[in-house]
Symmetry: C2
Subunit: 343 residues, 2 copies
Amino acid sequence: MIKLTLKDIANHFSVSISTVSKALHDSHEISDKLKNRIQEFAKENHYRPNKVALNLVNRSTKSIGVVIPDILNYFFIQVLYGVEKVANERGYSIISCVTDHSLKKETMTLEMLSSGSVDGLIISSVASERQTSKHIENVKSIVDYQIPLVMFDRVIDAIECDKVIVDDFEAGYKATKYLLETGCKTIAIITPINKTKIGRLRIGGYKRALKERDIPFDDKLITPIGAKDDLDFILSFILNDKNIDGILVLDEITTVKTMAIIKARGYHVPNDIAIIGFTNGQLSKYVTPALTMVSQHGTYIGETCAHRLIDRIEGLSSPGGFETKVVKTSLIVRESTRKIPLG
Amino acid sequence: MIKLTLKDIANHFSVSISTVSKALHDSHEISDKLKNRIQEFAKENHYRPNKVALNLVNRSTKSIGVVIPDILNYFFIQVLYGVEKVANERGYSIISCVTDHSLKKETMTLEMLSSGSVDGLIISSVASERQTSKHIENVKSIVDYQIPLVMFDRVIDAIECDKVIVDDFEAGYKATKYLLETGCKTIAIITPINKTKIGRLRIGGYKRALKERDIPFDDKLITPIGAKDDLDFILSFILNDKNIDGILVLDEITTVKTMAIIKARGYHVPNDIAIIGFTNGQLSKYVTPALTMVSQHGTYIGETCAHRLIDRIEGLSSPGGFETKVVKTSLIVRESTRKIPLG
DNA sequence: ATTATTTACGAAATCGCTTTCGAAAATTTT
DNA sequence: AAAATTTTCGAAAGCGATTTCGTAAATAAT
């Protein structure tokens, strides 16, 4: 039972290809008798139209591409979920690609996707780190090609398209404020996303919260950490130098690791050092003590992206008029922070 | 700058489409002068051949579909990684789909993928639960359509294709044996995958280990748990009824949850109750105490699947002659189990 | 100068499908 | 019975590329 084409069916009934096509679409142009015979034959032999040919004819693939930097990050997985949900609801399938934070991989991925494979793209771009024209040209070419594009989280300012972003400034502000309100005096930041704009925004919020309490900003308290850095080694510096009693960590896995190290060094969490992390995923709930985290509402962001994109694809939104939606975060309070004092 | 086609370029130079195509392929049939002009023009205007058209002509998409039941399961993510790695190395891109353990979704996904969108498929099928002809017909149709297929982990016996599976029997055996060797007498099993074949295999290994020590099997010790069941409530039964000092849990997140509940009830892990879980993911290392886990070597499995599949696609393997590769597991010993007594 | 050979390009088929248009055949209307 | 419609189907164009084959012009060989 090899793959059946319209031509095969046409030959079998000694009719033309167009007749078969019409018959299978239940066209009134074909007599009922012939239609029935053809339809029955097609069903029996499991005929299915070739998607690729259809895509070519329709100049549409009914699928959208989602490009994320990391699949071990719960936030992106949630976004993926959200996108997939509404995409399916609206008749689209998604093809998801992971760039592993590599510009080269992102470039390859975008080139592959933008040559007809998808009707639109949802991207969280690694090029958002340094937004030089050199870095963003791949993403730029997407909009140049007139391919509908929605960027989320790691967006590129210079590119005009719909965007859905997290209110990272406010998130950093809220988290810091919460630490201050629960008695922290010296708050360090561990940032695995030091170069990113979202990282800077979160630190911006942190500074604002400090300023409100007239606490001077000390940039020695900001500790960037790279993928292959030894966290234990790096932490030892600030732990020894400063009298830290609060830590804000900018991603989930690093939060968990940081707490493990701090506990191993004999500090009590949260009494000696309180911790708040970013991304409320699977890890934070089950470690001991359970971690207070910033939830970015990934699923909602994914849903919003998908709706926006499909509206664009189907011409449901006014041409131009790109919108940027800002999604607020929530602080999920658990046991790695102290209680807010009454009164 | 709208999407450019060969026709557009041909018009611009008043030459034929075939000339342009040849020029862009640097054919010797075209004069150097014309070639240069055409190539330059194409580059300047960012011409890129339409993938869909190419796919149609070549009857190949250079992409493979990966269908997994769950994306929050670290094992499947690892497999995805492995597949992506060798797929990229060998010039393929992957399109990954998640079925959420739903047969309906799997059916939809397979129908979408098997009509020309991919050159081959890698599947861990939810239909492997009850392998009735009704359930497996979707996957069956894939091989009927002559689409190269590799199944992994959750495979279907009745379907002839290449398979890569975990040695789940041995894994269950090894884990149980380890618990017994470290002094456990009464070992319970918590299984969120009760209906699956891999679940049964693991339990088979468990039974074998018990038998070797002449410990009678007690099916009251096997506790299935569904997605929306209250784990706390269910655990209370066996914890109260039986004098359990060891637990084997068949997936990672449930392992973590189980330990949390046990600790909350005042048991010490591993002294009162030792725990071993399946899937060595991100969670197990960072909870307290760190969990002893069975590693299924997902990345390796993914790599193997991809190589097998691409060999098939490219006709590099002998037709027919399907192979089933069995991958051994490793026990990653951490702190949720006791030490092996010396001597 | 005549023939043979390159060189340089275009026409057309093909991939599998949809869709428009034209035209016989069957049916209805006058 | 002639004209007007309707029914039913096929030819052909088109989607965007590749590729085979044919051929005029230019060059080389005799």
